[in-house]
Structures are given as structure tokens and as C-alpha cells.
């Protein structure tokens, strides 16, 4: 639970990265603007939560679910988020549930998903990426 007020902030590094990805290259974001956006994001989460909670209460449910969040987005006039959110839910629900916390583990699962996709190269994948690529190249020649 939140014990300190800082616990309600989102990590600055991540927020900055998201902003930089959204804006054209070479745009500077002032320090004040960064912290303002970060604060705004926290408020957005709270606003969305309380809207979603209203929908859950209307449905006499105690647990917030995906449809509550989607309805909340419409209520908040962020309809444009609904489609990408639905896509994210469909495309990534399986992965999201297993989503690990640390970066190291994340890369591991990435490798694993690649592995499952290259059924033929299963054994070589466990060795090295380079070896795996080589094998694919050889296959292509054939």
C-alpha cells in the first residue's frame, strides 16, 4: 500500500521515455513539464479508477474488470483509446498474465516465445542467437 506520497508517482525515467517516443526527434522536454506530465498520469489513473469503480458498482461487482475500464475511457472522453486497448488486451492478455517484473526475466521470455515460433530450430536456439540465425540462413538457401 501507499505509505509515502512518492509511492503514488510513476517512475520518471519511464514517463520521459514514453514522452520522447511520442514527440518528434530532438524535442526537449523541460524538467517542469516532465514532472507535470508524471503528476497528470497519476491523476489520470485515479480518475480512471474511480470512473471504472462506478461502473463496477452499477453492476454490483466488487472487482474492477476490463469492461469497467473500457467504459470509463468512454465516459472520460478518451474513446480513441478503446480500440488500441482492446487490441492490447486481445494480443497480449496471455503474455501479460505471465509478465515478469524484472528486465532480465523479460528478455528471457522473449527468447522463449521466439523459440516456440521456430519449431525447427528448437535445439539450436538454446545455444546462441548467432547459431540460430546461421541455421535459418542455411535453410533459406535450401
Amino acid at each position: 500500500m501507499a505509505e509515502r506520497p512518492e509511492d503514488l508517482n510513476l517512475p520518471n525515467a519511464v514517463i520521459t521515455r514514453i514522452i520522447k517516443e511520442a514527440l518528434p526527434d530532438g524535442v526537449n522536454i523541460s524538467k517542469e513539464a516532465r514532472s507535470a506530465i508524471s503528476r497528470a498520469a497519476s491523476v489520470f489513473v485515479l480518475y480512471a479508477t474511480s470512473c471504472a469503480n462506478n461502473f463496477a458498482m452499477k453492476g454490483k461487482r466488487k472487482t474492477l474488470n476490463a469492461s469497467d475500464v473500457l467504459s470509463a475511457m468512454e465516459e472520460m472522453e478518451f474513446q480513441r483509446f478503446v480500440t488500441p486497448l482492446k487490441e492490447a488486451l486481445e494480443g497480449g492478455s496471455r503474455k501479460a498474465r505471465r509478465r515478469p517484473q524484472s528486465k532480465r526475466r523479460r528478455t528471457k521470455t522473449k527468447k522463449q516465445t521466439q523459440k516456440s515460433k521456430t519449431r525447427a530450430g528448437m535445439r539450436t536456439m538454446t545455444k546462441m542467437k548467432k547459431g540460430w540465425k546461421k541455421k535459418n540462413r542455411m535453410k533459406r538457401k535450401k
Partner: protein, 131 residues
């Protein structure tokens, strides 16, 4: 062969959510009426927050003043909160900045207006003060 390449691209693209889910959950649970949150709802909120940050940043930059200088400033954001209806809910936490001197002037003017109103109410007082 092509299949593999596509799969690889997908993995590169699908960095699903970059914000920490645990933190999002803490923020959501800080709302007193919320009891429990479905994992899907959590993931959606995190994703939505990401979209929101992008949206706020691009909107503010596009409508902002620092386009030539290639900067996004606080005042651009404050303007967005004040002018855009969708971002209206941010107006309280992104107030417009004004100079202290301006603020004092505003206070004085307000006081003067109030005084004038009072004066109009009881004119005799006003006359006494004048003389």
C-alpha cells in the same frame, strides 16, 4: 522462413506495457472505494495511462508555443489543461503560472472592486471617506 521474421518483429514491437504494474496497482488502490482489481483491468489501465501520456504530450506540443525552439514547456501543458475539454480534469493540478507581482495586482483589483461595491451599498460612508 518469413514466418520466423514476422514473429521476431512482433516480439520487438510488443513491448506491451512499460509502466510498472505494481505501481499502477498501488495508485489504483489508494482510492478508498476500490476493493479489488482484475488483472486485465490493471493491464488496461496501465496501457491507457501510457496512451494518455503520449496524447497529452503530443497535443500540448502541437498546440504549444515552443514549436520553433523544439521544446515542450510547462506552460504548454497548463494551456492544454485549461483549453481542451478532454484534459479539463487536469486544470487543478496544472495551474497556469503567473508572476507574484501580477497576482498581487489581481488581489488589489479584486479588493478595489469589493470596496466599490460596498461603497455603492452605503453612499454616505463613501462621501465621508472622500472628504
Amino acid at each position: 522462413m518469413a514466418e520466423v521474421v514476422v514473429g521476431k518483429d512482433k516480439c520487438g514491437e510488443q513491448r506491451l506495457i512499460s509502466l510498472p504494474l505494481s505501481r499502477i496497482r498501488v495508485i489504483m488502490k489508494s482510492s478508498p472505494e476500490v476493493s479489488s482489481i482484475n488483472q486485465e483491468a490493471l493491464v488496461l489501465t496501465a496501457k491507457a495511462t501510457e496512451l494518455f501520456v503520449q496524447c497529452l504530450a503530443t497535443y500540448s506540443y502541437r498546440h504549444g508555443s515552443g514549436k520553433e525552439k523544439k521544446v515542450l514547456t510547462y506552460s504548454d501543458l497548463a494551456n492544454t489543461a485549461q483549453e481542451s475539454e478532454t484534459f479539463q480534469f487536469l486544470a487543478d493540478i496544472l495551474p497556469k503560472k503567473i508572476l507574484a507581482s501580477k497576482y498581487l495586482k489581481m488581489l488589489k483589483e479584486e479588493k478595489r472592486e469589493e470596496d466599490e461595491e460596498n461603497d455603492n451599498d452605503n453612499e454616505s460612508d463613501h462621501d465621508e471617506a472622500e472628504s
